[in-house]
Symmetry: C2
Subunit: 409 residues, 2 copies
């Protein structure tokens, strides 16, 4: 059961002028489901993208990097579910290039103007024939008001489609941001990949797009974890179609830039949090804020040490306010000169540990009350600097083991 997460209403997902989306049932792995998506981008749009840092990156990720490096305008995304085209060697690269080229030819584009994305089973050959056979139907289906179908068509073992849409004021003009994501644990038993796609009609200087993609990812998808495993296919793409009529945003540090980034970050975080809320076996959504660090790196090291500790995660599942496990995770996070007597720990509003030990006024019943909630904030103050970072995760349940121990059949 996802944690406080329901499917969006299709009518709440505002179209983005200049982006048309089409889906089709290509029978890539299963019959009778939408599994092929094309995103068609009008000329004049800017695109930024970030990809997995896993050295075993999948073929489509390698092809995306090649196509982005060509410097040609990106005009289409080609997304399939059912097969990740990962661990597939030269043949996988050939098939990612081939399907991109087929879509490009249908649209009168150069192959490098198409970015391919795949998600699904790994280590199996991409059924490129089925993908190419499905393209005409997907192209014919393409309309601007189709984000909900895209959210469904990119799912693998997600239990809920993930999408979000906001409107905001940028330079006195109403702009729209809409996005979709998929993922539920970094790698499902035989499914791989977190994917995120966002569009806005805002006018943004092209040179800002890559910076925007990186900054959004760093504050959203790069701050969530289910089990610490990163996928071979993780991809996040941001498209600005420059249709809204606002004065082009030329800096993310300007008033307009901050307004745009805030709106886009709201969507990106909602999409990223949705992945955690739909995390494998998740029963709780945990926000971990580490403050008082010397720099971002040490705040993140502590945050992820807590977020990845199986002992902490099972304690959340059990609603057990187990201070020792959280403090022990802080202690092994890798800060060599950490002074344990400077550590404060809070569960929501409850001050559970002070100066590295149990807070004398702390009552177990108060910790227990917080731990029973479905949404919990852990706050650690390291007491040694001004940096603050937040990461999000879920608990670790029997269901996680059940899901991941199911044989791939």
């Amino acid at each position: 059961m996802p944690v406080n997460l329901t499917a969006p209403n299709a009518t709440d997902l505002h179209p983005i002028a200049g982006i048309r989306i089409g889906t089709a049932e290509a029978g890539i792995r299963k019959a009778n489901r939408k599994d092929l998506t094309v995103v068609l981008i009008e000329p004049g749009a800017g695109v930024g993208a970030v990809f997995t840092k896993n050295r075993f990156c999948a073929a489509p990720v390698q092809v995306c990097r090649e196509h982005l490096a060509s410097g040609k305008d990106i005009r289409a995304l080609l997304i399939n579910t059912g097969n990740a085209n990962a661990g597939t060697g030269e043949q996988g690269l050939d098939r990612a290039r081939s399907s991109s080229a087929t879509l490009a030819a249908s649209l009168g584009l150069a192959p490098q103007q198409v970015l391919p994305f795949s998600t699904g089973v790994i280590m199996e050959p991409l059924p490129v024939d089925r993908i190419e056979a499905g393209l005409p139907a997907a192209i014919a289906d393409a309309v601007e008001d189709n984000w909900f179908n895209a959210a469904q068509a990119i799912m693998t073992t997600d239990t809920v489609p993930k999408a979000c849409s906001v409107k905001a004021q940028v330079g006195g003009v109403t702009i729209t941001v809409t996005g979709v994501s998929k993922g539920a644990g970094m790698i499902r038993p035989n499914m791989a990949t977190m994917l995120g796609f966002m569009g806005t009609d805002a006018c943004v200087a092209p040179k800002l797009m890559q910076q925007l993609a990186l900054e959004l990812a760093d504050a959203s998808f790069n701050r969530v974890t289910v089990d610490g495993d990163t996928s071979t296919n993780d991809s996040f793409v941001v498209i600005a179609t420059n249709k809204a009529g606002n004065a082009p945003v030329v800096s993310l540090d300007s008033t307009d830039g901050r307004a745009l980034k805030a709106a886009m970050l709201e969507v990106a975080r909602t999409l990223a949090h949705a992945i955690v809320r739909d995390g494998e076996g998740a029963t709780k959504f945990i926000t971990i804020t580490v403050q008082g660090g010397r720099d971002t790196a040490e705040c993140l090291a502590v945050g992820y040490a807590i977020a990845h500790s199986p002992l902490v995660k099972t304690a959340f599942f059990a609603s057990d306010p187990n201070l020792g496990r959280i403090l022990a995770a802080v202690g092994y996070a890798g800060i060599d000169d950490l002074d344990q007597t400077g550590i404060e720990l809070f569960l929501d509003d409850v001050h559970v540990a002070t100066r590295g030990g149990r807070n004398p006024t702390y009552q177990e019943a108060d910790g227990q009350r917080v731990m029973k909630q479905s949404e919990i904030t852990v706050r650690v103050d390291l007491g040694r600097g001004a940096a603050t970072e937040t990461v999000w995760t879920c608990d670790f349940s029997h269901e996680y083991v059940t899901i991941n121990a199911d044989y791939r059949s």
Copy 2:
């Protein structure tokens, strides 16, 4: 159920001349169980010790470091189970010092000649009165042939007492090495600590003892992991009583030094492996060898990435030869310039992946056969250097979640 691990026979645990051990029922946490151990060391012995790197180290660890730093000969160990004296602040330090001083006074020693060790519940005050009241009985019980009782008296939630003893030839003389350990997951629901204590009657230059402790720990206790969580109390102590009559070992690189270290490493590894075999919920014992690395650090990074991946560990539990999960863990281990096309992967004798992709001759049935075993070796060849390292871990089962989600009651 521990994996291929049974209790040792008391008669197989050879006494070490110069080390007497006594245990007592002090009622520290539960009645009617041995929970207090004293190890009494004759003058002239050398001692080396290594401790947790966790910055939240427990009071006894801090006191051990103080006492070792005093430079005085260590003449006794004081070990209690039932309470870890961790997260207990100044009071905890006072109590660790007080109980050490009481034992020292009984033996006519300086307080700094006693090393204290605690394991059990964390964040609760050490019942120092019960410990001190139990000391006379433990001292009265002290005899050389008592290692089996020590193995039992230091257990927390271990299901099997852990001990090992070997004899070896060093410089033409038969020497004996005997040790005990405890631990089952780095921190049980309310129990903390891995502890290991080893003695030998071999003659060893005092200056070598700390190096010996470090090298033994690095090749045994520092190469095993259950869940990646390190404890606040982890301690490992090596004692050489210099009674065997061999010419003193003055270098670990000499013929005698290598013979001694091999014997001691056999005991240390057996004790370390026993902790994994008795790991929380373990159903399989996994050896992970990473070869072809440029240096030790990158071999270990890859080994631990595999050993700590919940997805890999649940695949072991499910007997699922899921290549993708292992390769993905290799990919995110942090080797930035890793070439995935250089990677070879083996499960025991089965060559499952070559050049970073599925081996064309690999049959799923062969991988399945290996994964069903209770002991499995994963071998990864990075193809970029001459370094090799091995780590040991267990799988990740429903039982792990059950054990760790049990509320502390």
